[in-house]
Symmetry: C3
Subunit: 302 residues, 3 copies
């Protein structure tokens, strides 16, 4: 355990690249996205920094939001001096052996594909061993907004993104394969400028709650990026009035206490908060809460 | 292992409070429920007694059944001399920071909320660390009967409740967080007076089967209270003709061999038994069956 | 670890029975199936052979395909000289204590039941401890074709079966109960003569991909036979346009990135491949991919 603690301390010689922001432009239904694979220190617990493999210095990576039917023109720059990286968007139809391929260190790659299905999709580096690339931080969420919206759009007052991921002993593939995660964490990503945008850690969303007002219907775009655990997504103090599995408007469930999310599974969940106070968001697999997986939604009168 | 066995033997000085029955009264749609947090020995295996934290001396706690739309007036007495406890009903809309709060040792708390969603909901102590409070026995089920019933109500001949929970090495939070459960168990709770009502153990529902007749359509209200494992709920020898996820009449599946239950997930499942004999109910994650998770349904000619 | 490696080497004195093919005949809606429980070496990894308990010398066992409404007349011969075996078809309604019973070594048993529900069902030996009989290789899939087909039948161009199962240290019940699987594997079974038909191993479906053409809609009948793990079934590079949970035409989901399969859970999944290249099929619980769980679908122009 002392060794593990020592391993998790940041070695001074490790590369730590300042985050390069993602770029995104749109011309009609053509969307131009530039992302960077880079090595950046991420604080994952009060006293633990992880020398992460990231997209754009965030882990999970930056939120991508496009429209159903958009064509994505994707540019990936790899600033990692030693390891190839790549991008697998779950939202697209593309031959992985051509469009999700490795970009070598200090090179870049360009890929084009359509986002033809609405939903809350995972993205991740697909370079082998994929387990290590995801566990080291190369994961995120792409939301594809449905052409005709959700039937419940008009009732929704607040919208947030929540992502669940695991952290293992740093860079230890054995531990990722056979061990228990050291941390299981939640993060949020900004849907609009000024909204909170966090890395996956054990404390931020407890100390700085998400906010809503009494009477609000809150929508959460959620994805469990794993790499290994399934999630039993639950909001304490309410019932999920509407759930769209994987965020597809056709996959509707009602009145759910808890949503089962496979590894890489997503959902749009909506619920009404009728009373002021703090509501904890968890995976109801409580050993993962014990390792960090909780966020607070603070509801105030006005 | 010798140490674990020793740990699990009941120390003579441990508190063991005789079960106080739950009280429940109704005036119109106002339901008055009194429950007691107490420390009671629960036999969980042939030679293992667990000095459990319980609701009313049962683990899982007593079954609560209310109607959709009811207002619950809930009183929690805490007889535990040392540890605060609380109550989180998944069935209700309530600010957890106000209505699911800790009741101190030897005190009581009163809380009011509505049960506005039909289903098979988990309840549990929500005091931190929640993992320990659930794993030590503070969990149960509240059924909220749908206002207009289930579309299949008329076909159902027998109804039972089945709950899945795990037991860990007694009071060992490390083991709850990282270890394997020592036992995974099923229990049943009485829907009416005279029906079987058991604690979560490895043997009772094998030795004293639930009963049905040839030709019966059997309904089971099931919930997997965890705290950590998901469940692959299955009845050997039949197919689940109708499944209502989380017990909501709107979430219907047909012809399922197995239902995926997240931690805290529930369902109403219905199936017809066409032949006399013994039908084993399991989670199809068979390592959990190896640890105890099975019950028998005995079907007789008449 | 040296001991484990030694355990996994094939001892020369172990029984290794040549596979006896399954027999299947039909007269109207009466189907006559003969299967054999036998001990056969199965190669599960490049350098690992498992002295498996099998149906007909395959693990998973031979694919069974019947029609909704068929009556199955099942004959099980047990060639295992020492251990009783049995058969539990998830597809049928039958009293397990009469029709899923043990067949003693060197004996045979005859059982009749109806396959009244359409779907992609698991079958397995149901002899205690069931965990060991499944983990040692006694599992497979029975497809019950729906009377009126699937609404999407006409769009489908290629059909395959994929099964996920785990392998543990050979014959080690402790490891099956508490340990991590040594391998998690995929296999395919031939729907027609000449199609690939493999055992559950870590390499064959990577080296000899399944095949499709650009523009094809591919259907996969999938089941996760466990015995312990759940599966997050995913096809890299596409979205599952249509999913029928447990293969029942009534349980439809659309546009899913990943399907949650409980232990013994099945599905029919359909997706279109729009570009030539290699598409990897995985469980998105990537520690299981690290242990072998992947298959390749190769899509060519023509
Ligand atoms: Cu990468
Ligand atoms: Cu809860
Ligand atoms: Cu408690
Ligand atoms: Cu089974
Ligand atoms: Cu067997
Ligand atoms: Cu993926
Ligand atoms: Na609203
Ligand atoms: Na809740
Ligand atoms: Na009936
Ligand atoms: Na069955
Ligand atoms: Na087609
Ligand atoms: Na994909
Ligand atoms: Zn990478
Ligand atoms: Zn609600
Ligand atoms: Zn609806
Ligand atoms: Zn408590
Ligand atoms: Zn049936
Ligand atoms: Zn229906
Ligand atoms: Zn067997
Ligand atoms: Zn598609
Ligand atoms: Zn549809």
């Amino acid at each position: 355990k002392a060794q593990a603690a020592a391993d998790q301390q940041q070695a001074p010689e490790k590369i730590n690249q300042a985050p390069i922001p993602m770029k995104m432009d749109r011309k009609g239904t053509d969307v131009f996205i530039e992302m960077t694979a880079q090595i950046t220190n991420i604080q994952i617990d009060k006293n633990v920094t992880y020398n992460a493999w990231t997209f754009n210095g965030e882990a999970p990576g930056p939120l991508v939001v496009v429209n159903e039917g958009d064509t994505i023109h994707f540019n990936l720059k790899n600033m990692d001096p030693a390891v190839p990286h790549s991008m697998d968007f779950h939202a697209v139809h593309a031959a992985p052996s051509k469009k999700f391929i490795d970009v070598m260190p200090n090179e870049e790659g360009n890929f084009t594909y359509k986002a033809s299905n609405p939903g809350v999709f995972m993205y991740h580096c697909g370079t082998k061993p994929v387990l290590a690339h995801i566990a080291n931080g190369m994961h995120g969420v792409i939301i594809v907004k449905p052409k005709n919206g959700y039937p419940t759009d008009k009732q929704v007052d607040k919208e947030y993104v929540i992502i669940q991921n695991e952290w293992y002993r740093e860079k230890d593939l054995d531990d990722m394969t056979n061990g228990q995660p050291s941390q299981v964490v939640f993060s949020t990503k900004a849907l609009k400028e000024g909204m909170p945008n966090t890395n996956g850690d054990t404390f931020t969303l407890k100390e700085k709650p998400l906010l809503a007002k009494v009477g609000d219907t809150v929508r959460i775009y959620v994805n469990n990026v794993g790499p290994n655990r399934v999630s039993s997504f639950h909001v304490v103090g309410t019932v999920l009035d509407t759930v769209y599995l994987d965020g597809n408007p056709q996959n509707v469930l009602h009145g759910m206490q808890t949503v089962m999310l496979p590894a890489s599974g997503g959902a749009v969940v909506e619920f009404k908060v009728v009373e002021a106070g703090d509501y904890t968001i968890v995976t109801h697999q409580f050993n993962d809460v014990q390792k960090g997986a909780a966020a607070v939604l603070r509801v105030t009168e006005d």
